[in-house]
Amino acid sequence: MLGRSAGAAVRLRRAGAHGTARRLGREVLWAPFTLALVALLVFVLMDLAPGDAATSIAGDQGDPELVESIRADLHLDQPLWSRYGRWVGDAAQGDLGTSLVSHRSVVSSVGSVFPATASLVAIGLVFALILAFVLGVLPVYLESRSFDRLASILSAVAISMPPVWLALLLTSTLAIRFEVFPALGYVGLTDDPWQWFRHLVLPGFTVAMVPAGELARQVRGSLLDVLGTDYSVAQQVRGLPRRSVVLRHGLKNAAIPVVTVLGARIGAMVGSTVIIERIFVINGMGELAVRSVGSRDVPVVLGIVVLGTLVVLVSNLLVDSSQAFFNPRSAS
């Protein structure tokens, strides 16, 4: 199955394919291959490590026979290719195995924590975009030297802000001292939308900070480039209002390079949840990942890696499909 998808992708490229639809098609076809490759690498690494889940489940006093029987149960005594092949086969049918620790299906374990992380990343993304607009677009639009300087400094600080410290600062001031937002925990969206939001403000802000700084700097540079182009000058000469020149025409063109890497930025944000969920005691994917690493729960770790990669791939796909909107030239 994988071979077929990779083959199809190669054939598409040879056919000189270009244009949004074909490009997206190619990406979609390569995706399972990427996921499988990533899973293989994790498999290999897990194998290289001393000990395995059987030993950690059995614990220190586990007698060798017990460990062996656990191992046989979990098929850990099979060769690598066999285990990997079985995993891939199951995965293709939507079964990612069972947690070695909780005995829940991986899909259910990871699925139950996914909404929390998804919410966190979504809110973080929104915050990051807003901050990036204020720090990157506004200074250009307002043409104020001093505001621009200030925004540049703030962007640089934002990029350099260690998330751990930011999280603690926010918690100690806004949650503990002033009690504006809750210090920890997560509430489901369907349970209580307002509390859902309140609980995500501080962690969302933390997740957003570094990407916001990067986005701000990038969009500012891109916007300045656009405003220097012939067509932008022509628009100004035509007497179009600044609002239109900068915010309508300028932003749309400036967004192109920014949007291109948005998928990767989202991936980085998902990664950062590993630390941030621990600090804010949110039971999300990152938190589950850390726990599973400790217990060497290979299937769960695999599942999280695969799901995380899937999120990035889907983000890239969505972002690429929006390229046609921002950059009509790419659609031909």
């Binding site: 182009t229 012939d230 067509y231 932008s232 000058v233 022509a234 628009q235 100004q236 000469v237 035509r238 007497g239 179009l240 209002p241 239109s244 025409h249 749309k252 063109n253 921002f326 950059n327 009509p328 030239r329 031909s332």
Partner: protein, 347 residues
């Protein structure tokens, strides 16, 4: 509230209206300088231009002559570049240099349209051609979306783009260079301006396309009665289009005359040189380049700036040369215009 756009159906009457009355554009004593490393650098000195309603003025000069600068000063692009602008630019009686940005914006695009050199780069790649024209129209004339779009299609038709309704939905990268330039012209004309400034509009295009664009501009002038400031380095093009020619050298105007006079009896050696190098007209087809190069703005010679390249230079050319009317309607900056019998050509 901006008045609704007059329908394009009654151009002839308005053309007649337009040719009546005083000059549309009067530039006097325009001097533009930029801050430089060792003090201000003057790129235009004491430039004067007059364009009557419905007249096509050809502004001719080599690169480095500063021919683009007057147009930039007129539309106020110099403000962004931190230039110092002295002198007067009167457009239909209004002094443009004293307008604030907001007031100038109302004039730009609405009463003065501008077309640039690189048409494919002058259009926003992210928006359709039609929406860009419609936006200008909607902003300046207050039209609604539907009306603005219809007007955009009408304008595309006016500049003779085939199948305008479909083309309006295209993006700039789908159009050829010549078509992009037509679109630019359509956009410049969108609000029915009185003056069109064309800065080397055909330089980046093929010769055949060039001819058609020039034809288009001439036709539009006849049809709409708009005045045109046509800037070019190509004397041949100016010859075909302009009612009046003005040559610029090293930031100064050196000659200005009606077309027939300019070619029959030029009064400045530089004009003579340009006519000769414009392709051996009546000269057995030999190429004559003017020896030497335009001096850099920081290193201008004192006195007549053309002195070092002039075949007729004398001692008195070391004195600064003022612009003066040597014959009716013919202006020159040469000390020796009365003495010299310069060779012209039949355009």
């Amino acid at each position: 509230m901006p008045e609704p756009a007059p329908p394009l159906a009654e151009p002839l009457r308005r053309a007649a209206d337009r040719t009546a009355g005083g000059a549309l554009l009067e530039v006097r004593g325009l001097t533009v300088s930029f801050p430089g490393r060792r003090g201000p650098v003057t790129v235009l000195r004491d430039v004067g231009l007059t364009i009557d309603r419905g007249e096509i003025l050809g502004l001719v000069g080599e690169s480095g002559s500063g021919k683009t600068m007057p147009s930039q000063a007129i539309v106020g692009l110099t403000r962004r570049l931190r230039a110092t602008v002295q002198g007067s630019i009167a457009f239909d009686g209004t002094e443009l240099t004293s307008l604030d940005d907001a007031a100038l914006q109302a004039v730009r695009g609405r009463r003065i349209g501008m077309v640039f050199q690189q048409p494919t780069r002058s259009l926003d790649p992210a928006f359709t051609v039609g929406s860009q024209i419609a936006e200008t129209v909607a902003w300046h004339l207050g039209l609604g979306q539907r009306a603005a779009w219809d007007r955009a299609v009408e304008l595309l038709d006016k500049v003779r783009i085939p199948d305008p309704a479909r083309r309006a939905r295209d993006h700039p990268h789908q159009l050829s260079g010549g078509m992009c330039q037509r679109v630019m012209i359509a956009m410049a004309l969108a609000c029915d301006p009185e003056l069109l400034i064309a800065d080397e509009p055909t330089t980046a295009l093929d010769v055949t396309v060039q001819a058609r664009i020039i034809e288009l501009i001439a036709g539009l002038r006849d049809e709409l009665g708009i005045a045109v400031l046509y800037i070019t380095h190509d004397l041949g093009v100016a010859a075909r289009l302009a009612d009046r020619l003005t040559t610029m050298y090293a930031g100064e105007i050196v000659e200005s005359a009606p077309r027939a006079e300019f070619f029959a009896r030029p009064v400045h050696p530089y004009s003579e040189g340009l006519i000769r190098s414009a392709g051996g007209i009546g000269d057995g087809g030999r190429f004559h380049a003017i020896p030497g190069r335009v001096p850099a703005p920081e290193a201008m010679p004192a006195g007549c700036r053309f002195r070092e390249r002039c075949a007729y230079a004398q001692d008195r050319c070391q004195e600064p040369a003022p612009l003066r009317e040597v014959r009716p309607q013919v202006w020159t900056r040469c000390h020796r215009s009365e003495d010299l019998r310069l060779r012209g050509a039949n355009p």
